[in-house]
Symmetry: C2
Subunit: 307 residues, 2 copies
């Protein structure tokens, strides 16, 4: 017997469609209802066979659902909650996949009826691609899913969500929403901001052409372009909805960067060497934690096929 | 007949050992002489079978060599040039692989005899690993090698170096040293600096533990740890020897980052969305230029082997 009888996915992009595929592949839900506001996206989901039923209307999608997962850009959470609130069945679990948690709780909770369990979640996984075609069942394997249930949430609902993400292949951590937002500001939001920024800087230089930037990108720059190719709507919403934590981490980053700039200006080779040595240990730790490949250069192919 | 009769490699780290392997595999040199100052490194090179002869002494290594490639951290270039200068044979070509070109020319040229051709080079390729074990023959395939011959360099020597890098699988570009240093400051040096910096910042927060940073690194942070795991000596020397260009690019980056910070602070979603959309095109350009894999997430494995 599947863990979930009727699973309703509100939004069917990279994350929603990966959940749909994984739920199907490992028999986690008996029935999957897929919703997207855009008819073309619903058509794509249907072509891909991601669900059992399809609709463009959120309220219709959640009817009779035991678990509703809202997988839309975080800025759209309030509108979705407003629409689905009255249509949710008694005892249903509502969850999400947003990269920001406090703001999502503020947006959604007021519209969810008392007889519904709200267990906000964030799978720390993704790729730079987006849309229903980009999803795959293995996306969440060996990644962390963070749950941030508000105080007073029914422990049974939290257990169900824990079991759900475990079946998708993830490890599960429970955290306060505010702490989640700080942690993610440094491990995810700031890296994306920095990446978007350097790619923007490189595209607007007078002395170096865009074609030179592209040709010689293997010098390190190309690594940054991956996360700077992530979905613009999703990331705009992240920065607008986790402002305080992002600005705090950005302040720390800029402070450290100014110190580094002085080391370079005054030729302090020892200080540079010391920092560059410490940072190696962090990567080793991430590899040991199973969160990164040990293969050189992320395992990128090295032209062997060309010869 | 091989392009080079006797190839002498001064330094046998990631780059030197990759040249040795490629030269052997594609029959580019008849004889390969391997040098490293450290006896353990020479022993490792011998175990790996990277050369035909081995020595710890640079002057001995270049005797009778037709092509000498200096593959040491750029801060060590002057000392090497001083030692090898008197031992070079008439008509020999001296080249290097340094990530900075003007400073290397300033360091080496005064010690090279008139009857020797100096063709500085920079293969824009590498991984985060270092040492003779880390090299592989395919490292330079489909990457760019930049030559920066000083004015008056013998065109035949430049042609030989062009042929050499072409045989290693690279495309070759000829550039002025000063321009090279500006281009590399944005496509390589600044990305490394930013990466080292954010990894340093993340390791020293009070509110977020190092263990949390490692666990949730798949949010984007782990991408930065790859280049922040690069060789500390090499990178210290890059920043000390390309100070002006790095500080200029860093100034541009910081200016843009301040603007981005203001967009976030004042909630300017349209400005964020506009930047985040433009940056996607740059990655597409890099993939089309054959300098990056189109596979999602750099083609990293997604736990399929675990189930």
């Amino acid at each position: 017997m599947a863990l979930i009888k009727r699973l309703s996915l509100i939004g069917i992009g990279l994350i929603g469609s990966s959940i749909a595929r994984a739920a199907r592949e490992w028999n986690i839900a008996e029935e999957i209802v897929v919703q997207s506001r855009r008819a073309e996206t619903v058509d794509a989901a249907r072509r891909l066979g991601l669900g059992d039923r399809y609709t463009t209307r959120p309220a219709e999608a959640v009817e009779g659902a035991d678990l509703v997962i809202v997988a839309v850009p975080v800025g759209a959470s309030e509108a979705v909650a407003k629409e689905i609130g009255p249509a949710l069945k008694d005892g249903a679990i509502v969850s999400d996949v947003g990269s920001v948690k406090a703001a999502v709780i503020r947006q959604m909770q007021p519209y969810l009826p008392k007889n519904v369990h709200f267990v906000p979640a964030h799978p720390v996984a993704g790729t730079e691609h987006s849309g229903p075609e980009a999803g795959f069942a293995e996306l969440f394997q060996d990644r962390w899913a963070i749950l941030t249930p508000p105080e007073g949430t029914d422990p049974k609902a939290v257990e169900t969500m824990k079991a759900f993400w475990t079946k998708l292949g993830s490890d599960v951590e429970i955290m306060e929403a505010e702490h989640h937002d700080l942690v993610l500001a440094i491990v995810s939001h700031l890296p994306h901001l920095i990446a978007y920024n350097i790619v923007g800087t490189a595209a607007h230089l007078e002395e170096v052409t865009e074609s030179e930037v592209m040709k010689f990108a293997a010098g390190g720059f190309r690594d940054f372009t991956r996360i700077a190719a992530s979905d613009p709507t999703m990331w705009r919403d992240v920065f607008l909805n986790n402002k305080a934590a992002v600005l705090e981490m950005l302040g720390r980053f800029s402070e450290d960067l100014t110190a580094l700039q002085r080391f370079i200006r005054f030729g302090d080779g020892d200080a540079l060497f010391e920092l560059f040595t410490r940072t190696r240990a962090i990567r080793r730790g991430i590899i040991e934690a199973g969160q990164e490949t040990a293969a050189p250069d992320f395992g990128r192919p090295h032209g062997a096929e060309k010869r």
